[in-house]
Point group: none
Chain length 194, copies 4
DNA sequence: AATGAATGAGATTTCATTCAT
DNA sequence: TATGAATGAAATCTCATTCAT
């Protein structure tokens, strides 16, 4: 009987899932609770997502995309000078994490959605950074001994770890301090030549 | 029917848990499987640990302790010069992770450890690093604008993230490359003065 | 695989629980057996009741309500004279116990009902009796030294104990004998004045 | 190795069991806890009792025997007049329950030790009362229509129920009030002739 | 006789998923 | 499309009991 054509069922499920995953952790949330929080029946959940992890993956994919867009936008607006680029990217990441704390935590937090889900996500994200480092090496502005992939991966682990720590306890450091530290320790700065 | 007076039930449970947690992830392992793998009855599990997470915590505590000892040992054997100290510590961490890959993954891996259980662990671990940075600042050998706690935390996130990535795919980089990168990006190097 | 849109799952669980509790006693019955007896999956049990004791409580509450209704009905139909009232109530209780033997046993039987769960139930039930005794005392028709609450409680313990004994072995005494004894030993008779 | 010849292992187990059964109810207590409370190993429990219910039965048997002795003693000291006998017996029961509250509760309380354990216990106890009533009928001092077995059983249910209620909340009535009520409602009084 | 680690059947409870309506 | 009662595999945890020492 009940078929009231819910307009935004999917969005409501995503929002409910995001909120619950962030609060309780991926494994502590069940689909019935997500559906209830979205004020939908459990059947509606399965009409929109094949299973619980599909919802999580969707949240993470959207978050990663949005963060990437924010970085692109920010670096486009910045100068061409490496430090400006690095800083713009860090500022964008910190600002994004601040305004989308739940999504950031669910996507990058100390938890996982089935072993492999994460690795690809992060290594994918590290490619632009690695490419940037390679360009700096080609231009003779970065220590040629540095392994760009390794360094890019190291930087992103640092960025994520630092931002998560800061989100959990924002009092310990200001936003600017976080950005400064990230920039300082970014390979493009830390291993720059000249 | 009990009978066989097991010699080292607790050790066998720890070993079985470590192996299974590393392979499948904390949430995909159950106490029955751990007990079976240890060739013990399920009741024996609960005679030794109140629940699954207690076993996990014990594994993590032992790992953190062992890693700390390895670092202390290594830095004691190294020179007093900051770079030597930093390198010795990184070498120790990488070697430890290599020889205790499962324990390293279970303890530091991107995996739920009961959410909050982890934060304290890592921030505790970052104290020696932060103290080292403070000493360098006091000696005028490190940029005084750097926040030592923030930088220490950032470095550890980087170290852990890089090592985990390397453990998952050791072909991408050699052990020396990893160590070099860690040393290069360590705050004591990256922001050194003079 | 769900499927068969059960019509009256809750009623069937109540019936199955009643039957099994009466036969084996509360602690010797488990939720799996109740669900199986009701031809339902165990999950269905927990969809309707939070746990085994909630089912038991529901059975007891319904039984107490039904018995109270039976008494009210019976005493309304009886004359206003105390003995008639007392007899009508006893007849109603005995008839109820006879036609709902399982429910009577489960509700009043010498069996754990979660220790304290029972006390209130019985003391609540004893209030009408106590009030009746007070009225008789006010009318000078009952020994004023009798403590009405104590006497009411004593009578109900007697009524329940006697009926349970009779239910277990109805041959030892006829229904009328039971009623006569109850009336005889009811405080309103035993301590009547004039 | 450990064989320190425990002097009173059995007594300690009985005391521990009594205390725990009274506090938590028969089904909520396990043998390991009883042994621990008695400061004995679990093996020692099974060296003295075949199983948990044997311990309970022993406690109940001892309690019933002690109560019977107390009644015998008390009625022997009383006059031969029926009311004195009845009162002496009630006083003895109330005093016994007061000074052995745990044992009284464990033996007569609203709980059971496996369905059948109790019935025999109580019907056994009701025989002396029934015999007394028969003697009164033979002497023409008690209504000959009263069924002595039924009345005896009814009285004992009342006595036990009233005393248990009083033990749980001794403030509601004094010891004398309880005794008076019991005597008042005892068949020998309630249905006496002449 | 006393010990207590070990046992494992069994009870409780959860929750991802289905499907008739 | 939406519903939500029903499902049942699977996980957690308990505890009476055994037996080598």
């Amino acid at each position: 009987m009940p078929r009231p054509r819910i307009e935004d069922a999917e969005d409501r499920l995503l929002a409910a899932g995001l909120n619950l995953f962030a609060r309780r952790g991926t494994e502590r949330v069940n689909t019935n609770t997500i559906a209830k929080r979205a004020r939908l029946a459990i059947g509606t959940f399965y009409a929109h997502f094949p299973d619980k992890h599909a919802l999580l993956r969707e949240i993470q994919m959207r978050t990663i995309g949005a963060l990437r867009n924010a970085r692109v936008e920010a670096t486009r607006g910045a100068g061409t000078n490496p430090e400006e680029q690095v800083r713009a990217s860090a500022v964008a990441a910190v600002a994004f994490a601040e305004s989308h704390a739940e999504a950031y935590r669910v996507t990058f937090g100390r938890e996982r959605a089935g072993a492999a889900a994460h690795g690809p996500v992060v290594s994918e994200s590290s490619r632009p950074t690695a490419d940037g480092l390679r360009r700096l090496q080609a231009a003779g502005r970065l220590d040629p001994d540095l392994d760009p992939d390794l360094a890019a991966r190291a930087y992103l682990a640092m960025e994520v770890g630092t931002i998560l720590w800061w989100l959990d306890d924002p009092v310990r450091a200001g936003r600017e301090g976080v950005v400064d530290t990230l920039v300082r320790l970014h390979p493009a700065q830390a291993a720059r030549v000249g």
